[in-house]
C-alpha cells in the first residue's frame, strides 16, 4: 500500500532549479545539436526535446535553445509578434528571470540573445548577438508531404520540385505568390528551410545576417541554424521574383517607413492606424523625436502608451 499522505521532500523545493532550468547534460545535448545545425546550415537536426513547464507550441523549442546557450553575463530580450510585452513574451521572459536570473532588456541593441516568435527586429543585428526563433512546424515541405520519412528523403536528395509546384499554383491561380509568412528559403544553395512564421517582409533580413540564427522546434524535436553571413534565398521564379509586403503609409506613431506595421483598430467606425510591429524600434524613434502623422491623435495615445502591445485587463 502506498502511503499517500507523505509528500515527497522535493515538493517543497520548487524554485531550486538548475541555472536556466535545464540540467547541464541536457544543455550539452542541445548544444551538440546546435553545433551540428551550424555545420549544416538549414538542415533540421533531430534532438531529444524535453518536456518543458510550458505547453508544446508555446515556445518550448526556442526556450530550450536559449537555455542551452545562455550564460550568466548574457542580456536577454524576449519578443513575440515584434513586441516585448505580449503575454507569452512576458511569460517566457519571466521564466528566464526566475530560473536564470539574467539581465533582461527590451532594447534590441543591448541584448546579446534575442528570442523571438514571428518577427525579426527592424534594427540590424550584430555579430555578437544571437537570434533564437520559436518554430511551430520546422518542415517546409510538411503541407505538401505529411510524411516525415518522405520529407527527410526529399531533403537528402534535394528533391524540391514539389515546393515550386506550390509556387507555380499560386501564380497560376492568383497571379502572384500567395505565401505571406513562413515563406520558404534555400540556405547556402542546399537546404530548403522554413524561416518560422515570420512575415516574408523579414526574409531579406535573414540573408547574410551578421548575427547567428538558431531555430528551435520543441514539439517537433528539431533544431536548425543559419551561421552569420550565410546566403539565404527566398524561393521564387526568375520572372516572378520574390518581393516583400509594402505598406503605403508610415508608422502612425513614429513615422517610420519600410518597417513592418500592425493594423490597430481604433473604434467601431472604421478608424484604423498602422503602427510599428517592432515596439522597441518605435519607442526609440519617438524618444529621438520622430513623430508620425497620427502621433498627436488622441486615439493614438492609447495605442502609444501600450506600446502597440495587446490591451489586456
Amino acid at each position: 500500500m502506498t502511503d499517500t499522505a507523505r509528500i515527497p521532500e522535493s515538493l517543497h523545493e520548487q524554485g531550486e532549479y538548475n541555472f536556466a532550468y535545464l540540467d547541464e547534460q541536457t544543455k550539452r545535448m542541445i548544444r551538440r545539436a546546435i553545433l551540428k545545425g551550424i555545420a549544416i546550415p538549414g538542415y533540421q537536426v533531430p534532438f531529444a526535446s524535453r518536456e518543458m513547464p510550458m505547453p508544446y507550441g508555446w515556445g518550448t523549442g526556442g526556450v530550450q535553445v536559449t537555455a542551452a546557450i545562455l550564460g550568466r553575463s548574457d542580456c536577454l530580450k524576449m519578443i513575440d509578434q515584434g513586441s516585448d510585452d505580449t503575454t507569452n513574451a512576458v511569460s517566457l521572459r519571466g521564466f528566464f528571470e526566475k530560473t536564470a536570473g539574467v539581465r533582461t532588456t527590451c532594447e534590441t541593441a543591448e541584448a546579446s540573445i534575442i528570442q523571438t516568435r514571428h518577427r525579426i527586429p527592424e534594427k540590424d543585428l550584430r555579430e555578437d548577438q544571437i537570434l533564437v526563433f520559436q518554430v511551430p512546424i520546422p518542415e517546409p515541405l510538411r503541407f505538401l508531404e505529411p510524411r516525415e520519412t518522405e520529407t527527410r528523403k526529399m531533403h537528402a536528395l534535394e528533391d524540391y520540385g514539389l515546393m515550386h509546384v506550390k509556387l507555380y499554383e499560386d501564380i497560376a491561380k492568383n497571379g502572384h505568390i500567395a505565401t505571406t509568412y513562413a515563406y520558404p528559403v534555400k540556405v547556402n544553395d542546399r537546404y530548403v528551410m522554413d524561416p518560422s512564421p515570420t512575415p516574408k517582409f523579414d526574409n531579406p533580413k535573414i540573408d547574410r545576417m551578421a548575427a547567428l540564427q538558431l531555430y528551435g522546434a520543441g514539439r517537433e524535436k528539431r533544431i536548425y541554424a543559419i551561421p552569420p553571413y550565410t546566403k539565404v534565398k527566398s524561393l521564387d521564379f526568375e520572372d516572378y521574383p520574390f518581393e516583400i509586403q509594402k505598406f503605403d503609409k508610415p508608422c502612425g506613431l513614429c513615422g517610420a517607413e519600410n518597417v513592418y506595421l500592425d493594423e490597430v483598430i481604433l473604434d467601431d467606425k472604421g478608424g484604423r492606424m498602422f503602427v510599428c510591429s517592432d515596439s522597441d524600434y518605435c519607442e526609440e524613434r519617438r524618444a529621438d523625436g520622430h513623430l508620425g502623422p497620427m502621433a498627436a491623435d488622441p486615439a493614438a495615445a492609447r495605442v502609444g502608451n501600450t506600446r502597440t502591445g495587446e490591451t489586456i485587463r
Binding site: A156, L157, D159, G161, V165, Y168, E169, D239
Partner: protein, 262 residues
C-alpha cells in the same frame, strides 16, 4: 522501322525472378529492349506481367536476376545498384510511367499546368513563363484545350486525365516509358483516340516503351514485339504480327482466337 539502327540495347533484362512468399510472381525473364522499340507484355490477369513491369521500373525489387539500363552517358548500369538519388533522377527525367488509373500518376489537386510542369521544376526550371508555355505546348500535343491549363484534373474526363498523365511523363523527353494498361477502364471510342495519340507520339519521339496489356488489340496497334506470359513465365515471344498471326503456343492460340482480329 528504324529500331535496329541503334547498335546497343537500352535495357537488358537477365533472369528476373520475383517471389511473393512461396508463390511465383514472375520467373527467369530475360530480354533486351532496343532504342525506339515498343514491347508489349500480354497475358491474362495473374500471369505476372504487372510484377515484371514493376521490377523493370524499380518499383519492386526482384528476388533474383539483374536489370541493366543504358544511361544517357552510354554506360550500362544495374538498376538496383543505383543510388536513391540516381534512381529518382532517372524516374523523373529519362523515364516515364503511365498508370492504368490516371489518379495514381497525377496530382489531382494541382492544376494541369503544374502537373505537366512538375518534372521541369524538379530538374531546375525556374522561369514561370517558360514552364507554362512548355506545359501549354504539351497539353496541345495531347489534345487538351489550352483553356484547361489552370483546371485540376479532378474536373477532367477519364480520357483527358490519361492524356494529361502522358503529357506529364513526356515533358522531359524521356527515352523509356513504362505503361500499365494505359487504355484500361476507358470507353471504346475514347480508347481508340488514345491509342492513336500514343502511336503518333511514340513514333514522333522515337520512344522505347514497355507496355503491359491484356488487350491484344492494343498490343497489335502499338508494339513491335510481343511477349506472352502465363503463370509467371514467358511462354512465347516474337515480332507482334508474327505472334498474333501465327501463334506457336497453344495458349497463345487460345488468347488470339478469343479476341476479334483488328
Amino acid at each position: 522501322m528504324n529500331l535496329f539502327h541503334a547498335e546497343d540495347p537500352l535495357l537488358q533484362v537477365h533472369n528476373v525472378t520475383r517471389y511473393y512468399g512461396d508463390r511465383i510472381g514472375c520467373s527467369e525473364v530475360s530480354f533486351d529492349l532496343w532504342p525506339g522499340e515498343v514491347l508489349a507484355i500480354v497475358g491474362e490477369s495473374g500471369s505476372g506481367k504487372t510484377t515484371l513491369l514493376n521490377c523493370l521500373s524499380t518499383r519492386l525489387a526482384p528476388t533474383a536476376g539483374a536489370i541493366e539500363y543504358r544511361m544517357r552517358d552510354g554506360a550500362m548500369r544495374n538498376l538496383y545498384q543505383l543510388t536513391e538519388a540516381e534512381r529518382r533522377l532517372l524516374m523523373r527525367t529519362d523515364w516515364g510511367f503511365v498508370h492504368q488509373n490516371a489518379a495514381d500518376g497525377l496530382r489531382m489537386s494541382v492544376s494541369a499546368g503544374a502537373n505537366v510542369g512538375e518534372r521541369l521544376m524538379a530538374v531546375g526550371a525556374r522561369h514561370y513563363g517558360n514552364i507554362r508555355s512548355t506545359a501549354d505546348d504539351w497539353l496541345g500535343r495531347v489534345e487538351i484545350d489550352s483553356e484547361r491549363i489552370d483546371d485540376d484534373p479532378r474536373s477532367f474526363s477519364g480520357g483527358m486525365r490519361q492524356r494529361l498523365q502522358i503529357a506529364r511523363n513526356l515533358v522531359t523527353q524521356p527515352r523509356l516509358v513504362f505503361m500499365d494498361e494505359p487504355t484500361g477502364g476507358l470507353d471504346v471510342s475514347v480508347q481508340a483516340r488514345l491509342l492513336d495519340l500514343l502511336r503518333r507520339l511514340v513514333a514522333d519521339l522515337g520512344l522505347s516503351v514497355v507496355i503491359v496489356t491484356h488487350d491484344l488489340a492494343v498490343a497489335r496497334l502499338l508494339s513491335h514485339r510481343i511477349m506472352v506470359m502465363r503463370h509467371g513465365n514467358v511462354i512465347e515471344t516474337g515480332l507482334t504480327d508474327q505472334v498474333l498471326d501465327d501463334p506457336r503456343e497453344p495458349y497463345t492460340q487460345l488468347l488470339v482466337s478469343s479476341i476479334l482480329q483488328v
